[in-house]
Symmetry: D2
Subunit: 280 residues, 4 copies
């Protein structure tokens, strides 16, 4: 099989040896001005990915097609993004796959939006709500840069008034106080649909858990993922000195046809320790 | 929008209040024999997901369409599976999306295989190698049960002889000693392609790092994900007493056009601590 | 130097190959009845520690002098103990050393009590409050078994009425709701004294933080320690499959001469991320 | 009880609101020159701890007696120190208490040395070996500053030649390659004595485990402690954004009277998962 060559309009990631990263869309006759000199887009187009490109000053850059994780990490942002470690897990837990309809609020910088678009297409719908026009514009630019702008329906609207859609497969809330929108989310979801949210504080998780009982939600799970990186030296393998200590707490739930009283005593965990999957 | 109703051939998850889980394919006139009595498939078909079903003994079960995470977790298995927390991250790091071609070895019980199939379809190819006929049969059954059998090309072959394909977008190795197959993986990948593997021990990571320098791999990352669950009680929010302490170490890399000598001193990490993304 | 030999009244730990642990006090003519046969105390006395002892059935046991960590772990208990990983850190943070006076409430099974006694003696005082006579009796037995009973002053009293002492160096609270006793603890402490507590839930930490501002406490720190064990096999070094996911949140503070308004904005952490010690 | 007042020769910690820390020994007529002005020692002496002191420029500092954790953290150092989280656990696992004899190599900056001295005195002996005169001098200064210089026997000697002592209760190695000194450590220990070491890399742990079988060591444990700090804001309780990802792997063992062949199959963990203590 011959490798597919780099083409105009492809999204490219250019990496310098000093770990600077440039995420761009390649255009005929375009130029990338780096801290180490200029790279002409035409020199990239027509070759293979994984090549070394030199600036006009002779400084080498790697030319790569960015992974979904790269796209999320390198998005232009003014607010905290959702990290790839969390995005990957969210996609699996909300069962995002081609054909599903998923609502997101707020859009933010569009990091999760682009991952949802990649996972739900073709055949699905990603509808993303945001109240701040500047954030929505930023997200539009971010998705345009990676060729996914047409895959998302952007709405500039406060979800306090409710979502426009109903019967959707999944709702993800990334808003300052998601516990205020549980009714809104519940009404938009189909029976059996997936609910997810990410919040930074334990107080927000407590308010969510407190209010979820008012709505037909069940199978509630609260989890967090810690990512630990390692130094990649065979003779001195060890974790990196520093790590991200916290990104957020994840809460997942399913919408039921109607509220089902779970007959568990109030202090018993719904997901008990005994439910840990076998680990051979 | 009217909810899509449960139909014959749908994969269903039935959950009891005592946390037993039954993952089945619904067939006209089929019966599910649970530890609490019988549920007729016909009673499930035609209704909505998220309903409560009763066995002939009156015991209630929840009827749900399983998420990708559920499918992975509830797969029938004889060996250790890759956990959803790792699967979601692998899909993002290897950039699995509709249209890509990805090779996997070995197939194992098929947990990652089904996640790859869901993510690469339509338009992609998932080719899964396995040396043990019994494992391949188990994986086939697992994928058939969830309606994904036709989305995967199964091969019964030792990859020591090489993959049959080349120019592929991604290779994932889940074999006892992946460091033995770096040349094989490298030759199958397109320039710029994605390599990933998961191993339980630090010794295996050391051997991988030691040998990767012989092949045109770069941007090597070693990471692990720790998942911490919480008790879902608003007034007593706290982590679960026990957690999975370890599933495996993840190693990711990109294939370059040719070996590029990175001019870093031998003890310096390629991914330095300074590369931590902003956490504002 | 000749090894000190095992003597009557020594506390001994006897370990079987199947990981059963017996913590006993050696008495002339005493007998230990194990699940694998009988060991005579006289056979232990007069030899060295670190020996293999055989039961009358020929089953081997290791004879060891227990470490402080062993004593804590093997204490007879009816409630959750404080784990060695937390005890060691508490001793350092509260600066427990020979000569200090420290108050503890409640006594519980006496695990922390015995560690405090070992660390504060000679010259110090450990005063331990408890409201339940059965718990106090259990703790007395536990401390007697390890020869530390005389080092602790036990009080059967509800600290809601206040501690009897003042000007003490350190107070540690291990009670259901420590936020109710901040005034009591504050009044007992000398200026500059150390306060510590351990609670299982985030809600309790929130209530503590909320109420500490009413008292002359400062330099407040909230931390948790996660202990990860590894399989001790050189060729397959890896973490254990399962770990303790949570024991509790630790809160430490110092008592000031008077309430000092710290001029930090309300959302800024008192211990900021920038304070991380160098890890060169 | 009247609070003990600050006296000449006391070690004091002075903390500014912008988190600068000054660890000093108070001397009659001494002066502390801070980044915010001068504090006269005489103004500190005779008052209580926990007071606010003002510089000649009116800038406030807190006057505190440092905890053992503070002393370790604020030690003057040219190399990586052992963190308080690890020190506290080491003291418990090695059972350091008044009266024991403990050997340490190397001395380094003296952080662990001072914690050992505080824990083993009175009645014990702390003997600390170092090969670099500059490091030993630094450690001497650090212990002098906190009044513990007389409690430690410093030796300038390479332990490759062996320790001068035998029959000691505990040996702790903090050297570049502790696996080279297992025989030396073993010969110095009494039967039943405690061995501990801390290393940064997995490779070092593997070499230790590989060679320990040649010596009469048993009950080997490999562990690591992860410390997670929280923002101390009641309404927004959450972990700090960043944490120390790694300080080192701890290995503990006991010396047996003679090598005891443990009849476990080579791949079985000596400390099995089943040994996790109860967590109620």
């Amino acid at each position: 099989m011959t490798d597919r060559l780099v083409q105009p309009n492809d999204t490219a990631l250019l990496l310098s040896r000093d770990h600077k990263r440039y995420l761009i869309r390649l255009l005929a006759d375009g130029e990338l001005h780096t801290h180490r000199g200029i790279i002409k887009h035409n020199d990239c187009i027509g070759g293979v990915w994984g090549r070394e490109m030199k600036t006009h000053l002779g400084y080498p850059f790697l030319l790569l097609d960015p992974s979904t994780a790269d796209l999320i990490q390198d998005i232009k942002r003014t607010t905290q993004i959702i990290f790839p470690k969390d995005v990957g897990y969210i996609l699996l837990k909300l069962s995002i796959q081609p054909g599903v309809t998923v609502l997101e609020a707020g859009t933010g910088s569009g990091g999760l939006t682009l991952a949802l678009a990649r996972a739900a297409m073709p055949g699905g719908r990603v509808i993303s709500y945001e109240v701040r026009p500047d954030m929505q514009n930023l997200a539009r630019k971010n998705l345009d840069r990676v060729g996914l702008l047409d895959q998302v329906e952007f709405k500039l609207k406060d979800i306090a008034e409710g979502f426009d859609e109903d019967g959707v497969d999944a709702v993800f809330l990334d808003v300052p106080e998601p516990s205020n929108y549980l009714g809104v989310a519940s009404r938009a979801l189909r029976s059996g649909g997936y609910f997810g949210t990410l919040v930074p504080t334990t107080n927000q998780i407590q308010r969510l858990l407190d209010r979820m009982a008012e709505y037909p939600f069940g199978l509630i799970e609260v989890e967090e993922l810690m990512l630990r990186g390692y130094k990649t030296v065979a003779q001195r393998l060890r974790p990196l000195d520093r790590m991200i200590g916290h990104t957020g707490y994840l809460l997942f739930a399913r919408k039921f046809e109607r509220a089902i009283i779970e007959d568990v005593p109030p202090e018993a965990p719904i997901a008990s320790d005994d439910d840990l999957p076998d680990v051979g």
